[in-house]
Symmetry: C2
């Protein structure tokens, strides 16, 4: 068996969909599939389906491959325990022992991590962070996730819950957050945060905006992005505000961990320069002199595959995610 | 030669004094000395004196010891370059190539790091962080320094300047900081920060305080501590305010790096519970649920020896400070 026939199974568990891919060391997809996470009553049935899909994928490849393991990225995933814990958007409540349950039907090594941590490892193995030893990945979707790498190793923290940049406080009297506190960063810098900002701006202004005719619930980040691209002032102001808050907090992040680069991935990364330009401007304005014009803010190059690639990367990078 | 005869030279360079110690693996001092940093016109003369003192110390010990190396902790020390860069309180300006210059007169391995990073390594080797893999050390003196350890390794960052917790922003329109920006944490949480808070409180109140008779320049943190211990309301309020700001920012730190413990050292640590109690209260109030009642806030047990022990520890822990 050749060494370059090594493959890894990557599973990206989201609240809505579960994506599965089998990839090689270069990041090429040999197999892809997906199904709805929410379509199962009991967790055991979900795990059963997941196991079968892994089996299907491996069968479809045929012989001649060496399976290194199964990597799983999931919201609120705990790398030390192999669990998903109290994830607000998952169909099941409490502590979900995903690795233990999947391990009963699959013999391969299984590694589970927080989805943003998986994204960080994915960026290191397959993306723009190749060769970097100190960087941060932020995932801007419904919320804001983050994975920190220092000295080439993921910062998992004492309990496996490090990297919650989305929950540093912007304003202790600010917007209510799903975590039960007020003013968390993800309530400002995320797809949902951007929507809240637009709603606030619309309520404060008499200016015309293409977005004022949309009911709140129907408003989406892509709509705001499109409006901003057409020059809508409210939409542009919302991106400026988002970038200001993000930039300020990234300056704090730089002071603490001194990264070479900060990557942005997730749905809101699709806004590109609309988000990047104000974020970079406000970060630079707030950096200590010693860090100015040194830290790169980059969009992830992995796009929609980041979740599965990140999960698969956990298998290759198992030794680099800390040993507690 | 016995293995337990290994010794390290620790040098703690401060803006005012330079302390030197020769210590063994257990942290016992075999030799101690100090001299004024500011007593030299040219850096070369200072380095010359430093080299001679190292020579003196080693001679004083006699034979039978194996010198592992020389560790140096210094403000704005850069571990990758062996330099002290733009340290506002040092007698010399710009970039000071300490390791290069000392290396010309001493043949031992020399490691130089930021003083707060050295304190973190010292805490890991000799202090309360023994056996911990994820922790933070904060040094509260004139300013606020910090050293972060994740996965058992110091976070030095891409350029060697990570760990500047003293310069995360509390209030972008707040107190002017020596770094050229406004509202940095160290302007609130440090001996000087505490003094500023007392001055602000005195200007706002008509209440009597033992501190109102002290001219601003003469006010010291120990005076404020003493007044607080006697029940002075302004002094107590100043500690409460300091703890509130510190606690909030430590909650952010926990969200990012998820440490097992946060140590407090430096002059202001002498205030003990006056500082600890409000800091813990406000940190806990601002922590995400997943971190509540888990993170220890501890005073360093190394006391006044922390600087030299931390510097010496750099020698033993050389492999644990990242390799860039």
């Amino acid at each position: 068996m050749k060494k370059n026939n090594k493959i890894a199974v990557g599973i990206d568990i989201g609240g809505t969909n579960t994506m599965l891919g089998i990839v090689d060391l270069s990041g090429s997809f040999l197999y892809e599939n997906s199904f709805m996470t929410a379509g199962f009553g009991h967790l055991d049935d979900y795990i059963d389906c997941l196991g079968k899909l892994v089996e299907e994928g491996i069968k479809a490849l045929g012989k001649g491959y060496e399976i290194e393991g199964i990597g799983i990225g999931a919201p609120n995933g705990n790398i030390y325990k192999g669990t998903v814990e109290f994830a607000p958007n998952m169909p099941w409540e409490g502590v979900l022992p995903i690795v233990k349950k999947l391990g009963k039907i699959r013999k391969e090594k299984i590694v589970l991590a927080n989805d943003a941590d998986a994204a960080a490892i994915g960026e290191m193995i397959y993306g723009g962070a190749k060769g970097m030893r100190d960087f941060v990945v932020t995932t801007l979707g419904t919320g804001l996730g983050s994975g920190f790498v220092a000295n080439g190793t993921l910062i998992t923290g004492h309990d496996g819950f490090a990297g919650e940049l989305g929950h540093v406080i912007v304003d202790p009297f600010g917007r209510v957050c799903g975590c039960g506190r007020n003013g968390c960063l993800e309530r400002y810098v995320s797809a949902n945060g951007l929507k809240s900002t637009v709603c606030e701006l619309l309520s404060e202004t008499k200016a015309k905006s293409a977005l004022s005719s949309v009911v709140n619930d129907g408003l989406t980040a892509p709509m705001i992005t499109e409006a901003a691209r057409k020059g809508d002032k409210i939409a542009l102001k919302a991106f400026e505000y988002t970038g200001e808050i993000f930039g300020r907090k990234l300056a704090d992040v730089v002071a603490i961990t001194g990264p070479e680069a900060i990557f942005i991935t997730g749905g809101l990364a699709g806004a590109g320069d609309l988000l990047l330009i104000p974020t970079i401007k406000h970060m630079e304005n707030n950096l200590m002199n010693v860090f100015k014009n040194k830290v790169k803010i980059l969009l992830s190059s992995l796009g929609g595959n980041a979740g599965v690639l990140g999960a698969a990367a956990l298998v290759w990078k198992n030794a680099q995610v800390g040993d507690h």
